[in-house]
Symmetry: C2
Amino acid sequence: MSTAEVSSTRLACPRQAAQRGTLSPERIVAVALEIADSDGLDAVSMRNVAATLGVGTMSLYTHVKDKDALLVLMRDAQFAECLVEDTGPDWRTGFTRVARQTRESLLRHPWAVALGLRPALGPNRLRHMEQVLTIAAEITDDPTAQRTIIHAVDDLVIGCATQELAARAIGADVPRPHCGLRRRINADPTLRALLASGEFPHLARVLAESSPFAAKRFEQALTWLLDGIERTYQPDA
Amino acid sequence: MSTAEVSSTRLACPRQAAQRGTLSPERIVAVALEIADSDGLDAVSMRNVAATLGVGTMSLYTHVKDKDALLVLMRDAQFAECLVEDTGPDWRTGFTRVARQTRESLLRHPWAVALGLRPALGPNRLRHMEQVLTIAAEITDDPTAQRTIIHAVDDLVIGCATQELAARAIGADVPRPHCGLRRRINADPTLRALLASGEFPHLARVLAESSPFAAKRFEQALTWLLDGIERTYQPDA
DNA sequence: CGGTGCACCGTACGGTGTACGGGCACGCAT
DNA sequence: ATGCGTGCCCGTACACCGTACGGTGCACCG
């Protein structure tokens, strides 16, 4: 008994312990999330994830079908961060809270936006859908209209986050004139010449001004959209 | 003379002709676009592009710094499709036309959306910015407000296209009940069980209905947003 | 005790981006 | 005319990727 126990744990693996129960989809996804958050999506390779877990690369495939499946699981994990605890007293604050939280989550995890085209359909996504549907149900009973409303809000949030992260990648998110975009254009001789050609009067004027904060732009756009929705379904207000 | 000429053209390259002037950034980008359109973004590899051009892989690097630079050039080429010839009589039709055209271009070239986070800053992007700035100038003279408006519209379009392409990838873009999303959920035992748990009353109801066409949703969302903008800057109408 | 299944893993294959160095053709100065 | 620099084209090589395949040993069941 005792000898068998010892031998089983010692001889199990030449390099490390890596017992039988060390691996699970949850642990794999958790590590992948950590790597993506700290080192970017490109650093999430099967080899890297496995090494971080102290495990052989191919062992991952017993718990995750594909790398693609792993990415989908990651995206669904991110969807959990979009859920709000309290949707508030009315649909407007409900949507506002969800939208803000979703935006912040996406900005925290740029890889989630990069995974945008991947159709993540998991439990958390379902929960998120249910939550926004509940909010939309306060506006109208028509399920089709509910979906239209939800999509509009979601689209705006995703687009905002995408653009904001792209601007951040350029370094154009600094809300001061002669920074960011302006500097970027000046760095490229072709673009600078193009701008100096006089064919871009409005652009030239705008570049001399400071740009509004991304957060401000987001709030304004959201307000406009919600205004439009309100006018359609509650014109009396 | 004649012998030198012949020898120079014949001995130039062991495999093919591939003379001196065959390569240029434009030709490279054009081929890359073709490949991306027909075989997807993953098919755009330096080896593949070079082979299609009948040229050695490393030759591309004399005209394009990086693969990343190539992708940026591709994105800028796509921006050309967002330009409209006639912006129409007023800002509303102007934004509507640009938004529609941009959406259609993105749906035609899904790889452009996948490149979303890449900060493409090229001549065509500049032209597009100038165009929408010209439209926004009809609303207000404040450059900051102009940028806010433009970003709002752009964000909505990008978000719409992203979501629509993601839905298309799932096969959830079919506007009939019990198709797309519903089928997808039923295919996964976990999700089906989750849905049957009764914790998703709104979702269950919605899945029984047909979803609106993506184009309709887009038009509605755009209308809402433009309504909101109009109410802010032209409350008299 | 024998057998079966499953979790783990080493190796290998075909793919990727690109650093490096070499060869060749051209244009220019001498 | 001759020599040379410059820039285009390219073959090779390296590190890394996802993953198909086969092997190995533990745990459990009959």
